[in-house]
């Protein structure tokens, strides 16, 4: 029975640990498991969650997108600045186009030129951070008519008592999940991630498949930037810093394999929500906000360890 316990812990250990944590926080604080706080957490994870939806596509092909953090910064600066210059609607359109374009550029280098995804997106992270400063000249931007613009709805609005960003995130999750599970494109993503060579031998154009996953990642990051700009009604030059790791942590915490080919959107939704509750719980327990960075580290290590451990287990069982 020893074996069964091990297998059970492997599969559900993280969720169990999470439940223990939830109960622990709930017993030590009053506010934790209240509807208001839960909606708060969901509102907070809606931005990283939205980004994680796109990044899930990329990770499923066995690749990475580390550029989403500074992409979020740049796109948030763009949406806020353009809101002041040309109004909310053109600002949103421009932001989405910019996100698609950056994603396409990543996709071109990784899918077609076949450069290493880690290097390409890490370089893009740096490039975009520089671009932010070029664009903004180093100063922060703020929405000038913050009180009167309908742009506020994306980050601050409520619909039937539920925050609009949460609705956007869940809606995005449903669409992304449907695309992955039920369309030919989704099947190609899993195919390329599971075995790229065999997929090519099956007539799948891996170059385009990889390309589109980065375009999707750019697109979801652009939507996240709209939510972010709307919520903050401004943008600092470092607003998205570190988000790439939080997003990645959420994806792999959910159980999507870094090696590609296995995982899903609902796993990402769970993973990113767990991360949100952990951070919120730590704050409520009185830990300083930067503890979340330490926790992110631990979560990444543990999740990757479980992912690879499950595979290694087959050799040394």
């Amino acid at each position: 029975m020893n074996f069964d316990l091990n297998a059970m812990l492997r599969r559900h250990g993280l969720v169990l640990a999470f439940l223990v944590f939830l109960v622990g926080v709930a017993l030590n604080t009053d506010a934790f498991l209240t509807p208001g706080n839960i909606l708060d957490v969901l509102r907070q994870v809606s931005i990283t969650g939205m980004m994680a939806l796109g990044v899930t596509f990329v990770v499923l092909t066995g690749r990475l997108d580390l550029s989403v953090g500074s992409m979020l910064t740049l796109l948030t600066v763009i949406v806020v600045d353009q809101h002041n210059i040309s109004g909310p609607f053109p600002a949103i359109v421009m932001t989405l186009i910019a996100g698609l374009a950056i994603g396409a550029f990543n996709g071109l280098l990784i899918g077609f030129v076949r450069l290493n995804a880690l290097i390409v997106t890490l370089a893009m992270l740096s490039f975009l951070q520089g671009l932010v400063l070029f664009y903004s000249g180093g100063s922060n931007v703020n929405v000038q008519n913050a009180q009167s613009t309908w742009f506020a709805v994306f980050g601050r609005g409520n619909f039937l008592g539920i925050p609009v960003p949460v609705i956007l995130f869940l809606l995005g999750a449903v669409v992304a999940g449907l695309v992955l599970q039920f369309t030919t494109f989704g099947r190609r993503v899993y195919g390329v991630g599971g075995n790229e060579t065999a997929s090519i031998f099956s007539g799948i154009d891996a170059r385009w498949t990889v390309f589109w996953t980065y375009v999707i990642s750019g697109f979801t990051t652009a939507i996240a930037a709209v939510i972010m700009g709307s919520r903050v009604m401004g943008a600092q030059n470092t607003i998205g810093q570190g988000y790439e790791l939080t997003v990645l942590a959420g994806v792999i915490l959910g159980g999507t394999s870094m090696l590609g080919g296995s995982g899903s959107i609902w796993r990402t939704v769970i993973g990113i929500s767990m991360l949100g509750f952990i951070q919120n719980g730590l704050l409520l327990l009185g830990f300083p906000y930067y503890v979340q960075w330490l926790v992110t580290w631990a979560v990444i290590i543990i999740a990757v360890w479980i992912d690879l451990g499950a595979k290694r287990g087959r050799i040394f069982a």
């Binding site: 369309t183 030919t184 195919g191 065999a198 997929s199 031998f201 099956s202 080919g261 069982a317």
Partner: protein, 502 residues
Amino acid sequence: MSDMVLEVRGITKTFPGVKALDNVSFDIRAGEVHALVGENGAGKSTLMKVLAGLHRADGGEIIYQGQPTEVSGPLDARKKGILLIHQELSLAPELSAAENIYLGAWPTNRFGVLKKRELRRNAKSALEALNCGFGPDVRVGTLSVAMQQMVEIARAEAFSANVVIFDEPTASLTDNEKTQLFHTIRGLKERGVGIVYISHKMDEIFDITDRITVLRDGQVQGTVETAESDLNQITRMMIGRTLDAYFVKAEANFGEEVLRVDGLGKQGLFKDVSFTVREGEVLGLYGLVGAGRSEVVETVFGVRKADSGRLFWKGGEIKLPSPRESIDMGMALVPESRKEQGLVLMMGGRENTSLPHLSLFSDVSVMNRTKELAVFEKYRSALSIKTTGPDQALSQLSGGNQQKFVLAKWLCADPKLIILDEPTRGIDVGSKSAIHELIADLAHQGLAVIVISSEMPEVLGVSHRVLAMSEGAVVAEFEGDAMTEENLIDAVSHHRKGIAAE
């Protein structure tokens, strides 16, 4: 000479859902070659992995040199003198032969610094004992597969192994290299090493082994003296029935030309390759590994690019296609390596079957699951594939059942031409003859079939016409009575000699 070096008693090993080894007992004597045979999934590899310390058994004991022994890991096994030579070689291509022989057990001084001279000297004598023909300093990545295997075997010398286990050692060797390997094995045997020999190739087993142990479904079916047994008996023990017709050839009834290849060439791989194949015809492509056979068909299919040459499909010239275009025209390629090229092993049978034809299995880009399941069930019963369900990961199936899914994924779209690259490599006798029957059946239905094989009886047995390839060129073509083993050997070896003379 008959003292036991290694004995296993009542070994049991269970994986989730499968009893891989069920109370298995057998023994290895010093100076004997002991064959371990069985269909895929019979438990041979698991048993060997237990001996080599890669798996831990759930029950039973290992008696090594008269003592009950625990093997804690591969390195421990090697130090004790039990050496496993893998089907897929386990060498570091960037390191030298000497470093590879002692991989993970390098001689060091007490500061952990590598004793290079000692390493080199010991490796050199191990290589010389085997007559390897290369020195300890050569980088392993530059050696041929056969020579790399010698590096692994040299470990037996270096660690004075008492037991050496060969797992499908001839899978990618030429006939000459095989002879050389057998010579080496006999040398080890004379020095009193106990050898376990795992193979699917019956001629080799009868050639080199002293005793044969047959495994089926994780249980020992029996151990026999090789000299007192025959193929029929072993086959019956392996699959529980006899195979009457090993090869079936489709009646020759040819229709229109389906594919014509004219002067196909690719620098460094093959040159001026021309052939045709007609409806209802099985064209054999024989050649040793490295002759360029796979490269040619992969180019025709579109996963490789060519420098020159023309392609005609059903009489009309076409430009060299992409894999997508080939598939849409009605071409199918069952590739050489089913694990790397053929299947997405973490997916189930349903998703693998539809993978090359996503547009056929979808309505406006939305997958049609009902259709997928219907086709999955159709081929599961038509090819009698053993799987627990449409979504059981193919990594959990035996080689033969995996290969059947590779066939299913291509057959389900009714191809006009199917290319089978080593379709029976590494699969068990039962699945093998099922695939031979299938080839005949496909030709009978009017498909054009190209079969690549390095097993001569197979290529002669199933084909109507055979092309011999050597060093990237088609060197001969045989039909009818001219299709004999001697002719094929002559064609290939003459060509090689001719090249050597130039």
